[in-house]
């Protein structure tokens, strides 16, 4: 079974994966929003979504998580897949609890990494949106109407602003989550 979803919040994604596992579908792969599921005994696995990379410091494509993955697997869990900075693990529920972050400090550090990722990508997206807005204004000034390529730029700019706002909102959301944890 394949399902298409875009998750910004890893906790919601985790909850969704666990819910599907409860219903007898075990997630086995991910590619650009497309999740692959295989049938399993209901509730067989507990899923955890993790993020280890640091935006701006660890390139998205770099794969130096072997050591970490090995450590997680030693605790009885299983590595499912990776998508850029994101890692997904699962553990058979009968093998006991599955928590990757067992103290508040490391949970906060995780939220910090995620927040920084949203800020970082948001800023990139913002500069993209700004320069494209410039292009769009040029186009408008020259022709006074939008058609063909003009409309394409318009759509791209709109999308870029949407993503920018979305990512900034997400970084805000993770700031609030951090606050809640600190309390």
């Amino acid at each position: 079974m394949k399902k298409f979803r875009l998750y910004f919040d890893k906790e919601k994604e985790e909850a969704w994966l666990n819910e599907l596992s409860q219903r007898g579908w075990a997630m086995t792969g991910f590619f650009a929003g497309l999740y692959t599921f295989m049938p399993c005994e209901p509730g067989k696995y507990i899923y955890r979504v993790d993020m280890r990379g640091e935006a701006g410091r660890t390139p998205v494509w770099r794969n130096d998580y072997e050591e970490y993955i090995e450590l997680v697997e030693e605790t009885g869990a299983e590595y499912v897949c990776r998508w850029g900075w994101w890692l997904i693990f699962r553990k058979e529920a009968e093998k006991g609890e599955f928590t990757l972050y067992t103290d508040v400090e490391s949970q906060i550090a995780l939220y910090k990494r995620i927040r920084w990722m949203f800020l970082f990508v948001g800023m990139l997206e913002c500069s993209l949106a700004l320069s494209n807005t410039g292009n769009l204004l040029d186009f408008w000034n020259r022709f006074g109407y939008f058609d063909g390529i003009g409309f394409f730029i318009f759509a791209a700019v709109f999308f870029a602003w949407l993503v920018t706002v979305g990512f900034f909102l997400m970084s805000l959301k993770f700031t609030l989550k951090m606050r809640k944890l600190r309390r």
């Binding site: 609890e97 972050y101 067992t102 103290d103 400090e105 490391s106 995780l110």
Partner: protein, 140 residues
């Protein structure tokens, strides 16, 4: 060590304790479980992050990285790490001693108060008994 000493997290404390002898990642998790009677099971994410921070701080170092065999990385505590651990233990000791002392003082004050109240009650009941006895004598 110019850094100001702040309280260690429980995880860091047990990681350092587990690295008195060379140990690898999962070994640290097991050792911590053993030391705390199964209470504290370090998560892989927590441990991995802490190991990297401790390496950066120079509190632990790589003990062996066998490039030929596929043996796991082992870590060991450094002198600096030992110093940090000692300072932390002193801090914890102070914490505990102060706690015990103040608590005991309070307890003894409370005990004395309790004792005082009991004495009063004993006194009261004795007086009541006398009063009853007197009445009984009057009746007969």
């Amino acid at each position: 060590m110019a850094e100001k000493q702040t309280a260690m997290t429980e995880s860091v404390y047990y990681i350092l304790l587990s690295l008195g002898t060379p140990n690898h990642g999962y070994g640290i998790i097991q050792k911590t479980m053993e030391l705390t009677d199964g209470r504290l099971e370090l998560g892989a994410g927590t441990l991995y992050g802490a190991l990297n921070t401790l390496l950066e701080k120079g509190w632990i170092r790589l003990y062996s990285e066998d490039k030929h065999s596929r043996k796991k990385k082992q870590y060991i505590i450094t002198e600096q790490g030992n110093l940090a651990l000692q300072l932390e233990m002193e801090r914890l000791q102070e914490l505990l001693e102060n706690g015990r002392r103040i608590y005991q003082q309070q307890m003894s004050v409370e005990l004395e108060e309790e004792e005082g109240k009991c004495r009063e009650k004993v006194q009261e009941s004795a007086e009541r008994r006398e009063a009853i006895d007197e009445k009984v004598q009057v009746v007969f």
